[in-house]
């Protein structure tokens, strides 16, 4: 991939330090990190089940929690201002017990 296309690199998220599976208690706030820095006009938002509640602190840091036990997949959706760039990150799994 060239530098020009590198700005189209797929976002990568984790529960911290590369962890892609995390087990949390009901109501426990869990952190999600996105490692890459994108241009200012890019918008990043988490995709997840409506049973989960997430909060975006900034483009690199989100929090999420759930009140129903279960296994949930979470991704990050990225788009630029004119929607010419739309990317979905890797999947991570939150297990709520």
């Amino acid at each position: 991939m060239s530098i020009l296309r590198a700005k189209l690199a797929k976002p990568v998220i984790s529960f911290g330090l590369g962890r892609t599976v995390f087990t949390a208690l009901i109501g426990q706030e869990v952190k999600i990190y996105s490692g890459l820095i994108y241009p200012k006009d890019y918008v990043l938002n988490l995709n997840h089940s409506p049973d989960l509640t997430s909060r975006k602190v900034n483009n690199n840091y989100f929090t999420i929690e759930g009140n129903t036990a279960g296994e949930y997949e979470i991704t990050l959706f990225l788009s630029n201002g004119d929607k010419t760039v739309q990317l979905i990150s890797n999947k991570i799994t939150l297990i709520i017990t």
Binding site: I3, L17, I37
Partner: protein, 853 residues
């Protein structure tokens, strides 16, 4: 054509025969390890009365002006347009002659670096990090909002207490780099911004306290300190059973004390505890009595409200001994001596009772050899940052190299292009191999260093682009409180003659590391042996070295440099730039030139002068060069040890959890059970003349045939190692022990007799109990092998006594063995024995010596 130059607010009369020019730069790509400022040429100011006053009458005999040695503010404006070339500059007066003053002006990031020049991290004020260390503050540091964290890791200290709890005394605090970064900017009077500062890699990034937190002298609150008095008469003392002989005994606290923590309101030698905590009792001096007897042993005992004894001990006042005592509210601490004296003697004992808060973790005292500039440079390099200082204010915007190249604005200078003056093919300071290095405990180590290559045969072989001030951990993994840890050595271990391990403190070990929180549902106990306190925890930060290896740092932050440095072309192009182009130029851009059909990274603007062509140093960026995209997931290679390692014949099958590419060649390193030199045994790597390798098929198993290992009775463990295409070494932990059939091993020929003598040097009785004598037999030999089978035989000297033998299969060539000698006597003295050692494999026997009586 001319400029208005203000120095310390005074407009200077310039000598127009040597016009002022300015070179602009922020981050010369040829020098990654430092950052540069803008500077003007040495311009001249005429010898006028105005200038003489402005320059403090320099050059006049007897002049004492300090101007050449101080910071002189400077502003430079274009006289025609009023555009500011320099707003916040620094004028340096170089020399004075009869006819002129020679000056140059620097601006840009220099203000920031000057503000922290020669300042240590202690100088910038990190008092907020100082704290008193005890188990409570350690656990408290595990909250997000603390600038320091006690990360659980192997610091090569005494990891566990004698009762197998996690030893708090051998944990050290680590400070967040983000805290130091903030603090340094605050100290310098600067603000900053940048998206990189909200990433996990920046926020979860710490530096260890560079040495152990001292546990020799605790932080205390004095409760009382008194010279002894004399107790006389009936000797009821502290309710310990009522000894009623008449005589004299010391009163350790003859005067009443009554504080919030403790009092002796009832009896002089009884301390009533009001506040649960850790206390220190210290006594110094001694009492001398008629006949030469001394009183120096002071007994203490903690008695609960129900009369139960929770702890007790004795301190020797003649050596100023102290006891750390844990006591609960309502407890009583009794003090007494064993005997009453018939006549009072001379001397005195001073007894002190203190509440212990913990041990002082004083960052101010230890961060004296780490400069603020070193911290800034380390972080700048670690994230590939370029600093863009605002021209008019003390604000710095930091951008990564990736951001500069991918998100920068494009300036089309096609219409300003005049000519190409020069084209060069090498940036100085680079080589074929360009290394980023950590410091190591072993000066020959380099396991976490990294490098990038430049494909240019005309460059020198290699160069160190960045040498970190920080240490890398030793590449040795251990398990601490159930989690793996590399070795962040802050102590050295030494075994003393009596077999005890002595922990020697190291200093100046700044390790960089991260904290990874884990839950321990069944709980783990953190205990301080020094303070005798403990707490149970169920969640804690354990050490992580995620993306901190230099090769990973290069991978994450310097990959685009390949598109700049591979087949480098550095151009010096001439442009017609006006003052507006210059005054608004900040290097946070790429230059496009339609005539040349390429994008360029501006490296330097050379000697801009209004109204003249300007040379600009540009580095061509190959935007279409194919790069390896960083894989943000760390490679893992883990042997699943849930079940015994499966084998058929000589073929082993390792079940692995890994994400390395299928088809990768994995090296299998064997480990054998060997003496560790500390009196124990560890698994150490077996050197192989030819590596054992296997190809990973991608199926979660690695199959390998073992047929080149020497025979052993103890089996082997194995470590799997894979080296990525970027020379990143990915290692598994050790496998379970594998016992393959002996026919798979290379038979070991019996060793040639390498021992010529075996001599017992000392026999020492360690203990005698009814029916058993434990004896320590020390010996020397000239055996060169690492271990041997040793038979110790005790011969009973009585007429019908029997010989007793014990065999030690892995005895050291020189050392000691402890043998148990049984004898028939139940309560009387043990029978006499003589002892002899024998190494049957070498046919050598020792001298025969009597056991100690």
């Amino acid at each position: 054509m001319s400029y208005l130059v203000y120095i310390n607010g005074i407009l200077i009369d310039l000598d127009e025969s040597r016009p002022l020019s300015q070179t602009k730069q922020v981050n010369d790509m040829a020098k990654l390890d430092n950052r540069q400022s803008n500077f003007t040429n040495n311009f001249r100011a005429r010898d006028t009365e105005n200038n003489r006053r402005a320059f403090g009458y320099l050059g006049i005999e007897g002049n004492q002006s300090n101007l050449p040695y101080q910071k002189n503010t400077a502003k430079v404006f274009d006289s025609e347009t009023g555009e500011a070339l320099v707003v916040n500059g620094w004028a340096v007066i170089r020399r004075t002659t009869n006819a002129m003053f020679e000056v140059f002006v620097v601006d840009g990031i220099i203000d920031f670096y000057k503000a922290i020049e020669n300042k240590t991290v202690s100088d910038i004020g990190v008092e907020a990090l100082n704290h008193v260390k005890d188990v409570a503050t350690i656990v408290d540091s595990w909250n997000d909002d603390k600038p320091y964290i006690y990360i659980i890791a192997d610091y090569n200290g005494k990891v566990y207490t004698d009762d197998s709890k996690l030893n708090a005394d051998y944990l050290v605090p680590s400070v967040r780099k983000s805290y130091l970064w903030n603090r340094i900017h605050e100290y310098a009077g600067f603000t900053y911004s940048g998206d990189v500062f909200q990433t996990e890699k920046f926020l979860n990034n710490l530096i260890t306290f560079p040495k152990p937190v001292p546990t020799s002298e605790p932080v205390v609150t004095l409760i009382t300190n008194q010279e002894n008095g004399v107790l006389t008469g009936g000797s009821w003392f502290g309710g310990l059973g009522g000894l009623n002989s008449f005589g004299y005994a010391p009163s350790f606290f003859p005067n009443n004390f009554d504080t919030a923590q403790a009092n002796n309101n009832q009896f002089a030698n009884q301390i009533n505890i009001e506040v649960t905590g850790t206390y220190r009792l210290t006594a110094e001096g001694e009492l001398l009595f008629e006949g030469g007897s001394k009183l120096k042993d002071i007994n203490w005992r903690v008695v609960g409200p129900d009369g139960s004894i929770s702890s007790q001990g004795t301190i020797d006042s003649s050596i100023g001994q102290a006891a750390i005592i844990q006591a609960q509210e309502g407890d009583r601490i009794m003090l007494w001596t064993l005997t009453y004296q018939s006549f009072w003697g001379s001397g005195s004992i001073s007894t002190k009772f203190e509440l212990v808060s913990g041990y002082s973790a004083n960052f101010n005292e230890v961060l004296v050899d780490l400069t603020a500039t070193e911290v800034i440079n380390q972080i700048m390099i670690e994230f590939g940052l370029t600093a863009f200082k605002d021209k008019a204010s003390n604000h710095i915007v930091y951008k990564t190299l990736n951001e500069r190249l991918q998100t920068a604005k494009i300036l089309d200078w096609t219409d300003k292009f005049l000519s190409r003056k020069d084209e060069r093919y090498q940036l100085t300071n680079y080589a074929k191999v360009n290394r980023f290095k950590y410091r190591y405990n072993d000066e020959n180590a380099n396991h976490f260093d990294g490098f990038f290559s430049i494909n240019d045969e005309n460059l020198r072989d290699e160069v160190t682009v960045f040498q970190s001030k920080f240490y890398a951990p030793d590449n040795r993994e251990s398990i601490v409180a159930t989690k793996p840890s590399l070795l962040f050595k802050l102590w050295n271990k030494e075994v003393k003659d009596n077999g005890e391990v002595e922990y020697k403190e190291l200093d100046g070990r700044y390790y960089t590391l991260r904290a990874e929180f884990h839950s321990l549902p069944s709980g783990f106990i953190l205990k301080s042996e020094a303070l005798n306190t403990e707490l149970t925890f169920t969640s804690a930060p354990f050490v992580s070295y995620w993306r901190l290896k230099m090769q990973q740092i290069i991978f994450d932050n310097y990959l685009p440099i390949e598109s700049i440095l591979d087949k480098t072309k550095i151009f010096e192009d001439s442009f017609w730039l006006d003052i507006r182009d210059i005054s608004t130029f900040d290097f946070d851009c790429l230059i496009y030139n339609k005539y040349m059909g390429s994008y360029y990274l501006p490296n330097r603007i050379l000697a801009y002068t209004t109204g003249q062509p300007t040379r600009v140093e540009l580095i061509e960026v190959d935007y279409f060069k194919e790069l390896d995209v960083p894989n943000p997931i760390d490679y893992q290679l883990e042997v699943i040890n849930d079940d015994p390692i499966d084998y058929v014949g000589c073929q082993l099958t390792f079940i692995v959890n890994t994400n390395i590419p299928s088809g990768s060649t994995v090296t299998i390193k064997p480990f054998a059970y060997s003496p560790d030199g500390l009196g124990g045994f560890i698994w150490t790597e077996v050197p192989m003349t030819e590596s054992i390798t296997a190809v990973y098929s991608g199926s979660g198993t690695i199959i390998v045939t073992i047929n080149s290992l020497p025979a052993t009775l103890f089996g082997y463990k194995f470590k799997l190692v894979w080296v990525s295409s970027l020379f990143e070494v990915i290692e598994s932990g050790l496998s379970n022990t594998v016992f393959v059939e002996q026919s798979c091993y290379i038979p070991v020929d019996p060793p040639a007799p390498q021992m010529t003598f075996l001599t017992i040097t000392q026999v020492e009785t360690l203990s005698i109990t009814a029916g058993l004598r434990k004896v320590k037999v020390s010996y020397v030999s000239d055996l060169t092998d690492s271990s041997m089978m040793l038979v110790a035989t005790a011969f009973n000297q009585s007429l019908f006594g029997l010989a007793q033998s014990q065999t030690f299969y892995l005895a050291a060539p020189t050392g000691f063995v402890e043998i148990d000698i049984a004898h028939n006597s139940i309560a009387g003295p043990p029978a006499l024995h003589t002892i002899q050692l024998n190494a049957p494999a070498y046919g050598v026997s020792s001298n025969i010596v009597p056991s100690a009586s």
